[in-house]
């Protein structure tokens, strides 16, 4: 069951990501990104991180991507034009991307114990409420980074307001 979930939603995530790149219209691309995020949420859930899954759906698919779609609709952005692409991108891009992919998968596969890997669906059958664990981690052990991040976001919001305000 867990393996089936992983295969279906992993494939869906990859398909969505590819569709995101190949679609010409920004709305279609944004919607493919939503599909990717929803499939990731299902994968989180199948690993037992149900709160993370819900947060992923609410924050990324429900708020951030809605804003993306909203802006695309407001600006009425048309289809992008295809260019032939630069030679440098072909020469350096594909090998570079492949190298990064190999490096990352090597690191993840060799260091999976140190990174805290769990077997697929290990927690799905006896899912514990991990909200309290996350909150202990966030609000006690990592309190300072958490608060600093929120101040950073607040500063960013204020900056956006200042930039967007019309000069009187």
């Amino acid at each position: 069951m867990q393996l089936a979930l992983f295969i279906i939603f992993g494939a869906l995530a990859v398909a969505g990501a590819l569709n995101f790149l190949f679609q010409r219209h920004p709305i279609n691309s944004a919607l493919s990104l939503v599909v990717v995020m929803m499939s990731l949420a299902v994968l989180y859930w199948s690993l037992g991180a149900e709160f993370l899954a819900a947060a992923q759906v609410i924050v990324y698919s429900g708020a951030i991507m809605v804003l993306f779609v909203f802006v695309v609709m407001l600006l009425n952005a048309g289809e992008e034009e295809r260019t032939r692409g630069s030679r440098a991108a072909y020469v350096a891009g594909f090998p570079g991307a492949a190298a990064i992919f190999c490096l990352l998968s090597f690191v993840f596969l060799t260091e999976r114990k140190a990174l805290g890997a769990v077997s697929l669906g290990g927690h799905l059958n006896h899912a514990v409420s991990n909200i309290s664990e996350i909150s202990t981690l966030l609000f006690r052990d990592l309190l300072l980074p958490f608060e600093v991040t929120s101040i950073l976001i607040l500063v960013a919001i204020l900056g956006a307001v200042v930039l967007a305000r019309k000069e009187q």
Binding site: V57, V66, F70, S129
Partner: protein, 357 residues
Amino acid sequence: MSHLTEFQTFLLLSILKVVVVVVITLTAVAYTVLLERKVLGRIQNRWGPSRVGPFGLLQPLADGIKLFLKEELLPLAAEKPLFIIAPIIALSCSLISIAVVPFGQVQHVTANGISVDIFNIADLDIGLLVILGITSIGVYGIALSGWSSNNKFALLGSLRATSQMISYELALGLSLVGVVLRAQSLSLRAIVNSQSAHGLLSWNVFGGLQFVAFFIYLMAAYAETNRAPFDLPEAESELIAGYHTEYSSMKFAMFFMAEYANMITVACVATLLFFGGPSSPFGNLFPAIGGPIIAAILPIFWFVVKVFAFLLLYIWVRGTLPRFRYDQLMSFGWKFLLPLAMANIVFTSLVLALHAK
């Protein structure tokens, strides 16, 4: 049944529950429409539908047949795939969130070694978050419908709807924090149990001192479901019909059903969070009557009565209040409801912290 594995039994029982709940919800949607037309009619001093069947009770059936048989129009300039997907997203999102709602007290039925709670499709630890998440996905249905139909009224309607839903989602989510703090859980069953001690007195809206949160939730929920007095997305005097202007036949019906299914979901959530869900308003005042079957059905009766009361309130508000202006709507949401919700969180956590000492 013995030749089925445990997983197959579980799957079959779950599918059975889903089918029953979806059928009941859709029937409830159809009759909520009739109820609205009847009650609005009486408010406006006219009869409402009264010709089809006794008291017009078969009117939803006639409407359904009419919508099925109508011609399906597809505008030439519409973005075809999105135009078709949009109503599907809207309706499915509004139906999915019913899945986590517990309709009655826990009632396990054991079949083939699997025990299943028959009055709840899925009892999740984060049921409340699931409802919020699915509601936030439902925005796409409306946003895409307006954009893909390539019509300026539809686009304006969907822009209004989207910004309104994003803005009020915040106040809605924050208003629920007080309830979650009191129950110390996001599971809907736990929230119901946290207020079932003394019947009416321990409901969150009275004994839980969450009256302000309930007020915020109600306002935000009306805006989320695009209902009067916040029905600007489909303000018929300025936008024709808003985001579903270009839709016809069953696609239009799907939007229509989605709106009413959302109303029912919101009423269910309000019942669960603030009015004790399926628990009786009298608590343990009266001794239990009847056998186990009555004991199982009575909570469902209370649940349905409370949801029905909320639906009536919806209709009553629609018949009474005029529509807001758009800037009033936005400033009401951001400058009044949001700070009030935050103040409510601070107040509730202060009281809880003082109590804990």
